[in-house]
């Protein structure tokens, strides 16, 4: 490889896939956290609706 290009890319290529993967994982992790919160909320609100209906029937 051309020595100039080798020096330019030496700072780019070795790190690039790892940095990209690390940031991708963290970014997906944040999406995952939002999804977990959404699912948990959905469950609690569903349970809340059941209890409210039970109370309404009793009334």
């Amino acid at each position: 490889m051309d020595p100039v290009l080798k020096e330019i890319y030496s700072l780019v290529l070795p790190a690039a896939p790892y940095v990209l993967a690390a940031y991708g994982i963290l970014w997906i992790g944040l999406f995952g956290y939002v999804t977990v919160v959404l699912r948990r909320l959905g469950k609690i609100e569903a349970e809340l609706r059941i209890v409210e209906e039970a109370l309404a029937r009793r009334a």
Binding site: Y23, L30, L41, I44, L55
Partner: protein
């Protein structure tokens, strides 16, 4: 009103997801890498994409497209810990304590992300995992204060006392956030770069990517906060209804 807020929260999740996706693509696949200040030791230069490159290219600079928006979001959300702490101490309304607790919880998520993404930066940029320099140290202290906030809450049984102590601690802990933000300007000799400054040398794509990432992260922060508030409110109501169902 609640319906509008739910729609806004859902919109924030979608917009946050879209904007952070665009920022990620811009950062890693579109924006040009930042050129190092030093010229090539091999001499001369090379034509890349029709442009003569005479400096080494720093891929590691790209991490600030994600790292800085996450860090700024952590400061913004931590502000609400202090804000609702003050509101609680003024009114003794339990809702404000819940809001402060949730804000701190989300701060911890963004602080953890900042620390991990920052460490990746440190490793590639400075060749080491950690440096005890002013920005890193003040941010590390902020992380410790956020953790201590939860330790403090867990150690006090009485609900009223717990809320008062946590509010006071949250307000004091937040004082570290502006210090950590400004420390690179107060102590400019530190190793951490001052990212947000006039004439920062970013081109339109780089600046655009950064601002889109910041807007996306703030949307995510807002959405997670609102979702957690909804969850807590639903939990409290569920407990009350269950008690009346059993009673």
């Amino acid at each position: 009103m609640a319906m509008d807020r739910n729609r806004l929260t859902f919109a924030a999740v979608v917009v946050g997801g879209l904007l952070t996706t665009v920022a990620f693509v811009l950062a890693f696949f579109v924006a040009a890498p930042v050129l190092a200040n030093n010229t090539l030791t091999a001499g001369g230069g090379a034509l890349i994409g029709g442009k003569l490159i005479t400096n080494p290219v720093l891929f590691s600079q790209k991490i600030f497209f994600f790292h800085v928006p996450v860090a700024i979001t952590s400061f913004v959300i931590f502000f609400f810990t202090a804000f609702y702490g003050v509101r609680f101490l003024m009114t003794k309304d339990k809702r404000f304590d819940t809001k402060a607790r949730i804000a701190t919880e989300i701060t911890l998520v963004f602080v953890a992300l900042t620390m991990i993404t920052g460490d990746i930066w440190t490793r590639y940029e400075w060749g080491t995992w950690w440096v005890w320099e002013p920005r890193l140290t003040t941010y590390f202290i902020m992380m410790m204060l956020v953790i201590v906030y939860f330790v403090l809450r867990a150690s006090i049984e009485d609900e009223e006392r717990r809320a008062v102590y946590a509010s006071a601690f949250g307000i004091l802990a937040f004082l570290d956030a502006p210090l950590s933000f400004a420390i690179t300007r107060i102590v400019p000799s530190g190793a951490h770069p001052v990212v947000l400054r006039a004439g920062g040398g970013l081109d339109a794509v780089q600046l655009g990517g950064f601002l889109i990432g910041l807007a996306g992260m703030l949307c995510f922060g807002y959405a997670i906060y609102q979702l957690r508030i909804r969850e807590e409110t639903a939990k409290e109501r569920l407990e009350v209804l269950k008690a009346s169902l059993e009673g």
